[in-house]
């Protein structure tokens, strides 16, 4: 089994499900890539925890304004129609159910939607940031991730073994091999790469993949 989607391709696939006019929070790091792949004709408004709605791409090097950053503390620019607000309003947008989509990375996802993405255990300095807040309140909480860990172990499990970020919060998972929904306490396979068999995909998944209607081919352009 060698073929799998690149991170950019996973981000592309996740971007196809963001509707025109959606308010979206992208987690720090890999999820930020989703913004680059908005389908033509659709416009999403991006939210960052530190108090900006409607930010655009990074500024040219040398033109950064360090009062204008995202939650990853990277310099950003504003799009027309942007807004500033303080931190309590920012998290009211999250917790109050006003965001349409949050897209986050994951160490592990359980079949009931539990997410572990903030801590790999008790060593070092713990740091949580906004991860535990973001998983509550967005209408859809999606995860983008490699299907397995770097050493080939399943990341989609019956239950998480790492410290939880949130309980029962994930609604959809975009992996390097498949698109999987979380419904009624189990994984439902929606799309998979045509090159992988259901049996092989199941072998790389730590919980049963349920079928609910046909499984579509996961087709993503070369990026």
């Amino acid at each position: 089994m060698s073929e799998k989607l690149s991170n950019a391709q996973i981000a592309w696939r996740a971007a196809q499900d963001i509707e025109d006019g959606a308010y979206v929070n992208l987690g720090i790091g890999f999820p930020e890539m989703v913004a680059k792949f908005q389908p033509p004709g659709r416009e999403a408004v991006f939210h960052t925890e530190n108090g900006v709605l409607g930010f655009g791409q990074a500024p040219a090097p040398g033109t950064e304004d360090w009062d204008l950053i995202n939650a990853g503390k990277k310099a950003i620019t504003l799009k027309p129609g942007a807004a500033f607000f303080h931190h309590a309003d920012s998290f009211a947008m999250v917790r109050g159910g006003h965001l349409d989509v949050a897209i986050l990375g994951a160490y592990q996802v359980a079949q009931n939607g539990d997410l572990a993405n903030w801590s790999t255990g008790p060593k070092g300095v713990p740091a949580v940031g906004g991860a535990m807040d973001l998983v509550h309140g967005a209408k859809r909480v999606a995860v983008i991730t490699d299907h397995v860990t770097k050493d080939g172990k399943p990341k989609l499990l019956e239950s998480c073994t790492l410290p939880l970020t949130g309980v029962g919060c994930v609604t959809r998972i975009y992996t390097s091999l498949a698109v999987i929904d979380v419904a009624d306490g189990h994984f439902v396979l929606r799309e998979k790469l045509p090159s992988i068999s259901l049996k092989d995909l199941q072998a790389l998944t730590g919980a049963t993949l349920h079928l609910d209607g046909p499984v579509a081919d996961l087709i993503v352009p070369e990026i």
Binding site: A88, S90, G130, M132, D133
Partner: protein
């Protein structure tokens, strides 16, 4: 009424040993670097204040601002959401050596606890952290069929914040994403000191544009062209300069 203070040293002169101190900013944006450095100057001259509890989103970056405050040994305890940064060495080393305490709080809960402190609301319920290690020992209650975790207000003896315009009544505006925690901390501290990039007379700020009303602010000190943590760190700056 005139809340303007003559200089930075006077602005931080009353902060005692053991104080609970909210410091505004998210990373370097909105961080009152000059007020923090004035506090370090006072400590170097007098040995005080020390044993501080500092509330901020982060725990310092490089060797300036909050990192420098920690490096001087003035901070006994940090309350923050993300004690990592591009260069978190100062906090990390002291934490791993058991020389500084950490209370880790999810970022939205941190913001809401500070707002609650400022609004006189001793506790509230949030879905954030339910079922996780950070909810251990906290009361849980169900509302409309969903479980929520009880969180308590956060208050401080002093808040050191950064704003853009400040008038003699203490009304404040902010610059872009440098707003972040600053307006919340202004509400939650017994005494709030704002460094402002420009001090103006009463009437110098359009009332429609005021973000923090002056009732939440006890002192303002003008620091024109304030320093920015990101730029200092790119130049490997340290405070005090060696």
């Amino acid at each position: 009424m005139d809340k303007r203070v003559a200089n930075l040293a006077e602005a931080v002169a009353d902060i005692p040993d053991g104080a609970v101190l909210m410091i505004g900013g998210f990373g370097g944006s909105g961080a009152p670097i000059e007020l923090i450095h004035a506090l370090i100057d006072r400590f170097l001259a007098t040995g005080s204040p020390k044993d501080l509890t500092v509330i901020n989103n982060n725990a310092g970056n490089g060797h300036v601002g909050i990192a420098a405050l920690i490096e001087q040994g003035m901070v006994a305890r940090m309350i923050c959401s993300f004690p990592r940064s591009a260069d978190p060495r100062v906090f990390t080393e002291l934490y791993l050596a058991g020389k500084i305490e950490l209370e880790l709080v999810p970022q939205g809960t941190l913001a809401e606890r500070i707002r609650a402190g400022g609004a006189g609301i001793p506790a509230f319920y949030t879905p954030t952290s339910f079922g996780t290690d950070l909810a251990k020992g906290k009361p849980v209650a169900e509302f409309e069929g969903r479980p929520y975790v009880q969180e308590r207000w956060l208050k401080a003896d002093f808040a050191l914040i950064k704003a853009e315009l400040g008038d003699s009544y203490g009304n404040l505006t902010y610059r872009m994403a440098a707003r972040n925690f600053n307006p919340l901390m202004a509400m939650a501290a017994h005494r709030t000191i704002a460094q402002v990039s420009q001090a103006v007379p009463a009437g110098g700020i359009d009332p429609e544009a005021v973000i923090t009303p002056g009732i939440f602010v006890q002192g303002i000190v003008e620091v024109a062209n304030p320093q920015q943590e990101e730029i200092l760190n790119r130049a490997d700056a340290a405070y005090p300069e060696v």
